[in-house]
């Protein structure tokens, strides 16, 4: 047993103080901590006070041990956290007004909670240092707090080993490859780093300028690409998807996606979509038609073939990309209406 804020909590060997607190619904803020990865202890925001220890301890990498007594929000702890936040804010350019993450930013949430604004310290950080080298991910180094979550996400979750801690002109910087742009590096554009980032330092470009986080609806769906079937959140503003993230605890992907799942959604808004039934004319050109007339034509053609040459003179190829219900319906049409088993799909490519 250990005691957190006076509450007795049981623990298993190997649990950190943070693990025990979370299992007991006791709030300890974190910034660098990322589930399923090794702790870095980089941000120190998870500091707590433990009886008998002179210094505050980082709860994310301190193992719980029998008899421990911990305070998560003592005056000393709160002051220390505020100090850390002040430092983080002053060492960057956290101008929330136009930030895409405004309203969905862990740094902002904590700053509000701990009443930190960064103004009591001299500004030390880089100003607007943005990498805008590809169409998908924007890196704004002036908003980076060097928590290292992106590094963990890239190297320990996706295991692409693209990101690392580096230094440029004396200041810390997260490097892609050998301090390259993402495009130049071996980046796979899985976007795991973007999803992990607690601030606006990594952003999805396609969402920029498309409304506000607070007007957003999140709808759960399944990725339309491969047979893994990743669970995705569609972030919808004004009835349009503006970005996609993985469903954290969702099976099978536990929050992960690849480049297709995360960025391959906006084909549905492409202006070249088919929008009207088309019937080929004698001269080979297509003419727009009404649904009724088109369906009548198909029905009468198929009717004729079946009458003249038997049901097996018609055939259908169903779609392994579409929903179950469409596939079921198409085979039902061929079997019960046309009366043929000439129905297949490309299970084979």
């Amino acid at each position: 047993m250990i005691e957190i804020n006076g509450k007795a909590c049981s623990f298993e060997k190997g649990d950190t103080v943070l693990d025990v607190a979370r299992a007991n619904d006791i709030d300890i803020p974190t910034l660098c901590h990322l589930k399923d990865t090794t702790p870095t202890g980089a941000c120190r925001i998870c500091l707590v006070e433990a009886d008998g220890a002179n210094n505050l301890i980082a709860s994310c990498d301190t193992p719980a041990c029998e008899g421990m007594k911990v305070q998560t929000h003592s005056e000393r702890v709160v002051a220390a956290r505020k100090g850390i936040l002040e430092l983080l804010l002053s060492s960057g350019d956290h101008y929330c007004l136009l930030c895409e993450s405004n309203g969905d930013c862990e740094l902002q949430d904590l700053s509000i909670e701990y009443k930190a604004d960064g103004r009591c310290l001299p500004e030390t950080g880089r100003k607007s240092s943005v990498e805008d080298s590809d169409a998908l991910i924007l890196r704004d180094f002036s908003k980076c707090i060097h928590c290292g979550r992106c590094v963990k996400a890239c190297n320990e979750i996706q295991m692409h080993d693209v990101l690392s801690f580096g230094h440029e002109e004396g200041s810390p910087k997260i490097f892609a490859g050998d301090n390259e742009t993402l495009r130049e590096s071996d980046c796979r554009f899985c976007g795991e780093c973007v999803q992990a980032c607690p601030t606006g330092a990594l952003l999805e470009k396609k969402a920029l300028g498309k409304g506000k986080v607070r007007d957003e609806q999140k709808v759960r769906t399944t990725c339309p690409y491969c047979g893994v079937g990743c669970q995705l959140w569609l972030h919808v503003r004004d009835d349009k998807i503006v970005k996609v993230t993985g469903v954290d605890e969702g099976l099978p992907n536990k929050g992960r996606t690849c480049v297709k799942g995360r960025f391959g959604y906006d084909f549905i808004y492409n202006k070249d979509r088919l929008t009207k039934p088309l019937i080929k004319q004698k001269n080979g050109e297509y003419k727009e038609a009404e649904w009724d007339e088109t369906l009548d034509l198909i029905a009468s053609k198929f009717q004729t073939f079946i009458e003249e040459s038997g049901a097996d003179s018609v055939a259908g190829i169903s779609c392994a990309r579409s929903i179950n219900e469409d596939n079921y319906q198409m085979q039902k049409l061929f079997r019960t209406v046309f009366r043929t088993n000439n129905i297949d799909h490309c299970a084979r490519t």
């Binding site: 169409a135 669970q231 960025f263 070249d272 190829i317 179950n324 297949d344 799909h345």
Partner: protein
């Protein structure tokens, strides 16, 4: 898959055959790599040195199309040395003697020669497999897109049964399915030989049960045509009306010239899709359909999990739900189908007809999906199949098979083997990825992968434009010199029209049972473009 993706985490060994998972199933690959970094063993069997090989304890770089030879030799070693799981085989399997009779002919020395590897590698792999507590075998189309695809699949099942790697957590046979809902399309019986629930159309009792449910007097008794037979029926006039729903077959079928000739000769072709593509060019009628993001419904993933798909936007213009279109045609033939939403189709029809799906209803899959078999509404779904060695048919049946060479072998004129597949950034013919902003930037053209050695012999430089030709056709494409492919092999995807591998693939070689085309083996040649400008075309 007999297992689930969540079981990757606890696996003690992976045997990955013909699956470039990091490109084709990227998220699955991340779980596999996580497990390997925590100590799981990994053996990759593949002609190509793809990314997973960097994490592997052993890479068996066999020649394309020699899988059965290797698998039989592995079983030969396991049985001869008494390393297989006697208890599992005695209690849960049948036909062991026939298996031994067959594989005793496949010594590791003999197979090694066919596979282009050493017999030591085969013995080493057999020992690793025998020593592992259990192993998950994963494969993809690298195993099935061969004339021996069915045999390959039977062989991996034989191997896993022999090792007792069935019916438990983190041990089984796991085909990672290519398309998002190819599992579902099979489950829904969009196949010429079965009805929903994988029951055979030729069985009269089955037909009677379905006819009653669907309120029709009878159902067709004969198996229908498989896709290649449908296409071949077009020029002959045997198939007069063909309806293609959402497949860009003009680019995805092997031998583009052949398929285009067939489509061209169709008397009446209906194509239902979301974009114009190479296939719609041949259509008499084009129907605009709603896309993902515009439909409610379900997909079933590789691990048999039925997941919800949800609409967030409305379909553009007059594009319609696909199920609605089919329903309207039925109506014109005098059938009034009751179900009027994807949910009604699932809850009131699909899950009623297919016992394995009986317990899956929309209200149960609001969040995580359920894995079939899921027999009733209290059933939690099934994480892995054949629990405790109980197979669907009772005992697991060994199906001994012989190795057969690929349909097309190399010769002087066409000395290289062409392999084909997908790459990371794109999907199939790019109807979706190519129309999503930013993805074409990441990969804007296809290149042919060629080994250093072959490039040197042909005097080809990296990024030089070359001709790749087969007995079917020729493409002009940039060369990518890489360690990934071995000497004697080149590799291309089918993402881009001009450089599509299917101008070259073999349209006349199919697995005799499934009619799957041999996409993974075609004999080709690579030539420098001799003319004036080949120098300038080096990027």
């Amino acid at each position: 898959m007999t297992n689930s993706f969540a079981e990757f985490e606890k696996a003690s060994m992976f045997l990955v055959i013909g699956s470039n998972m990091s490109q084709a199933h990227p998220v699955a690959a991340t779980f596999l790599k996580n497990a390997v970094s925590k100590g799981a063993k990994l053996v990759v069997v593949d002609p190509r040195k793809h990314e997973l090989v960097n994490y592997a304890d052993q890479h068996v770089q066999l020649k394309s199309g020699t899988d059965v030879a290797l698998l039989n030799a592995l079983m030969h070693v396991l049985i001869r040395e008494g390393l297989y799981d006697h208890e599992f085989v005695t209690e849960h399997c049948e036909n062991f003697d026939a298996l031994w009779d067959k594989v005793r002919e496949y010594s590791s020395e003999w197979a090694a020669e066919k596979c282009g590897i050493t017999s030591g590698e085969i013995v080493q792999l057999a020992h690793t497999l025998a020593e592992a507590d259990s192993a998950m075998l994963c494969y993809t189309l690298g195993l099935t897109e061969h004339v021996t695809g069915t045999d390959n699949v039977l062989s991996v099942a034989n191997l896993q049964m022999l090792l007792g790697n069935m019916g438990k957590r983190s041990a089984g046979v796991n085909p990672l399915r290519g398309q998002n809902n190819v599992q579902g399309a099979c489950d829904m019986a969009a196949s010429p030989n079965v009805l929903p629930g994988y029951v055979k159309v030729v069985n009269p009792e089955v037909r009677e049960r379905f006819a009653k449910f669907w309120k029709v007097d009878s159902l067709p008794a004969l198996e229908g045509f498989k896709m290649p037979e449908m296409f071949e029926g077009l020029p002959e006039g045997k198939v007069r009306g063909l309806w293609i729903f959402g497949e860009n077959v003009a680019n995805t079928e092997p031998d583009i010239r052949k398929i285009e000739h067939e489509l061209e000769s169709a008397e009446f072709l209906v194509v239902q899709d979301i974009f114009h593509n190479e296939t719609t060019r041949f259509a008499d009628v084009i129907l605009p359909a709603a896309a993902w993001g515009e439909k409610d419904g379900t997909f079933t993933n590789s691990e048999r999990r039925v997941n919800r798909v949800r609409a967030v936007s409305s379909a553009p213009g007059e594009a319609k739900q696909d199920w609605w279109i089919f329903k309207q045609i039925a109506k014109r033939f005098g059938y009034e189908w009751e179900s009027d939403s994807a949910q009604e189709i699932w809850d009131n029809e699909i899950s009623m007809l297919s016992p394995n799906l009986g317990g899956i209803k929309y209200h149960r899959i609001e969040n995580d999906g359920l894995q079939w078999p899921c027999l009733d509404e209290n059933h939690p779904g099934t994480e892995y199949l054949h629990k405790d060695g109980n197979f669907t048919r009772g005992k697991g049946l060994f199906n001994a098979v012989d190795w057969r060479p690929p349909a097309e072998v190399t010769d002087e004129e066409y000395p290289l083997i062409l392999g084909t597949g997908r790459r990371l950034h794109h999907y199939h013919t790019r109807t979706q990825t190519g129309n999503s902003e930013g993805i074409n930037d990441l990969m804007s053209e296809e290149k042919v992968d060629i080994s250093h050695c072959d490039a040197r012999n042909l005097g080809i430089e990296h990024n030089e434009m070359v001709h790749v030709s087969s007995r079917r056709g020729q493409v002009k494409i940039r060369a990518n010199i890489t360690d990934e492919v071995p000497h004697g092999m080149v590799w291309m995807s089918f993402h881009f029209r001009e450089s599509n591998a299917n101008w070259l693939t073999n349209g006349n070689a199919f697995d005799p049972v499934t009619m799957t085309a041999e996409y993974k083996v075609a004999a080709v040649r690579v030539d420098k473009i001799q003319a004036q400008s080949s120098e300038q075309e080096i990027a």
